[in-house]
C-alpha cells in the first residue's frame, strides 16, 4: 500500500517535470503565455486524480503548482533565451493533444518532448536564403528597381548570416538589432556606392524588415487581450526597444552619410 503511494507520488512528480518541459519549449520559441498556461494545465489534469492545478506564466518564467493527495508541489522554471521557431509550438500543441487523449506513459512522453526540443525544422542556410528573399521582394514592393532587388538580397543575406554567428555570443536583443540595422545600412550604402543598387532608402527599408519585431507585437497584443497584462506589457516593451535599436542603427549611418563623413 505504502509502496504504491510512493510510486504514485513519483509519477506525479514526473508529470510535473513533463508539463514544465512542454511549457518551456513553447515559451522559448515564442508562444503566447495563455497558450502555454493552457497546455500545462491540460497536461497536468489529464493524469491521476489531481484536484488542483494552476500555472502562472510570464515571458521570463513559468510557475506551476499542483495539489495531489493533500500535498502541494511547486516547480519554477526561468526562461532566458528566446528564439523564434513557430513549428515547435505547433509540434508541442499536437503532442499535448495526443498526450491528453491517449494513455501514453510519462516516460515515453518525456522522450518524445526531448526529441521535439532538438528538431531543426529548416537548415540555417535555407532560413537565411528565404529570409533574404523576403527582404528583397519587400524592397520591390516598396517601389525598388531590379538592381535594388539584387543588392537588397545580398545585403540581407550577409546581415542574417552575421546575426546568426553573433547569436552565439548571447548578446541582448537590443544590441543584436542595433548591430543588424547598422550593418544593413552600411552595406546598403556600399552597394549604392559600388553601383549594384540604385535607391539607398529602398534597399535599407527592405533589409531592416528581417529585424522588425513582428512576433513581439503580435504576442504582446494577444497576451493583453487574454488578460495577461504583465506579459503583454513586457512583450510590448521588447517590441518598442527593438524598434528603437533599429532606428538608432539606421540613424547613426544616415548621420555620417549626410555629414559626408563616409
Amino acid at each position: 500500500m505504502e509502496q504504491n503511494e510512493k510510486n504514485d507520488r513519483k509519477e506525479v512528480k514526473k508529470l510535473l517535470v513533463l508539463a514544465i518541459l512542454a511549457g518551456k519549449i513553447m515559451l522559448k520559441n515564442g508562444a503566447e503565455t495563455y497558450r502555454v498556461e493552457d497546455t500545462i494545465e491540460r497536461i497536468c489534469k489529464s493524469r491521476k486524480n489531481i484536484k488542483y492545478v494552476d500555472a502562472f506564466v510570464t515571458p521570463t518564467g513559468i510557475f506551476l503548482s499542483l495539489e495531489y493527495n493533500e500535498e502541494v508541489m511547486t516547480y519554477l522554471q526561468r526562461i532566458k533565451t528566446i528564439s523564434i521557431d513557430l513549428n515547435k509550438i505547433n509540434l508541442v500543441n499536437e503532442f499535448s493533444r495526443k498526450f491528453v487523449n491517449s494513455s501514453m506513459s510519462i516516460d515515453e512522453a518525456l522522450i518524445e518532448l526531448k526529441k521535439i526540443d532538438k528538431i531543426h525544422t529548416y537548415k540555417l542556410l535555407s532560413k537565411v536564403c528565404f529570409g533574404s528573399m523576403a527582404c528583397a521582394f519587400f524592397s520591390l514592393l516598396f517601389g525598388g528597381t531590379f538592381l535594388d532587388f539584387i543588392s537588397s538580397y545580398l545585403v540581407s543575406f550577409t546581415v542574417l548570416f552575421t546575426l546568426n554567428k553573433i547569436d552565439k555570443l548571447d548578446l541582448t536583443f537590443f544590441l543584436r538589432n542595433f548591430v543588424g540595422a547598422l550593418l544593413a545600412s552600411l552595406l546598403s550604402f556600399l552597394a549604392v556606392k559600388l553601383g549594384i543598387g540604385e535607391n539607398m532608402d529602398k534597399i535599407i527599408i527592405g533589409s531592416i524588415m528581417s529585424l522588425v519585431p513582428g512576433v513581439s507585437i503580435t504576442n504582446a497584443i494577444r497576451d493583453t487581450m487574454s488578460g495577461d497584462y504583465v506579459s503583454g506589457l513586457s512583450r510590448g516593451m521588447e517590441a518598442i526597444f527593438s524598434a528603437l535599436a533599429i532606428a538608432f542603427g539606421v540613424g547613426i549611418l544616415l548621420n555620417f552619410y549626410l555629414r559626408g563623413v563616409i
Partner: protein, 145 residues
C-alpha cells in the same frame, strides 16, 4: 494588373518571412496566401482612402480573421498564420523616414512621419485585437451551446 503584381510579390515576401520564423512546412503556402491577401487589402484601401493608417487597419484585420479561420480549420496555433502576415505591415519604412528627417534636423517632418508610424503600429494592434476577440467570443458562444 497592378494588384496581381502586388499579390505575387507579397506572396513571395511572406513565404520568406514564414521560413525565417520556421513555421510548419505544410503551412508555408497558406501563410503566404494570408500575407498576400493582407497586403492587397492594404494596397486597395490605401489607394481608395488615401490613408496608410486606415489601410493598415483593414489589412491587419483581414490577416487576423483569415489567420484565425485557417487556424481553426487546420488545428494549428493562430500565430503560425498571423505573424508572417503581419510582418510586411510593420512600418519599417516609416521608421526609416522618421530617422532620416531627425538626422536632417527637419523636426516638422520627423513629427509628421513619426506620428504616422506610431498610428500605423497602433492600427495593427487594433486590427489584431478585433480579430482575436471576435474568434474568442465565437468560441465561447459555441461552448455554451
Amino acid at each position: 494588373m497592378e494588384v496581381l503584381k502586388q499579390f505575387i510579390l507579397s506572396f513571395l515576401s511572406t513565404i520568406g518571412f514564414a521560413v525565417l520564423f520556421s513555421i510548419p512546412k505544410d503551412s508555408i503556402g497558406r501563410s503566404g496566401f494570408v500575407g498576400a491577401t493582407g497586403w492587397v487589402v492594404y494596397f486597395l484601401t490605401y489607394n481608395l482612402l488615401q490613408g496608410k493608417v486606415a489601410g493598415t487597419f483593414c489589412a491587419a484585420l483581414s490577416v487576423g480573421i483569415l489567420g484565425e479561420i485557417l487556424a481553426r480549420y487546420y488545428k494549428k496555433p493562430a500565430t503560425v498564420y498571423i505573424i508572417p502576415g503581419i510582418v510586411p505591415l510593420v512600418p519599417g519604412a516609416g521608421m526609416y523616414y522618421t530617422m532620416l528627417a531627425l538626422v536632417e534636423k527637419d523636426f516638422l517632418m520627423a513629427a509628421n512621419t513619426g506620428t504616422e508610424t506610431l498610428f500605423i503600429a497602433a492600427s495593427i494592434s487594433v486590427g489584431i485585437i478585433i480579430s482575436t476577440t471576435l474568434s474568442r467570443s465565437i468560441k465561447r458562444v459555441r461552448q455554451k451551446d
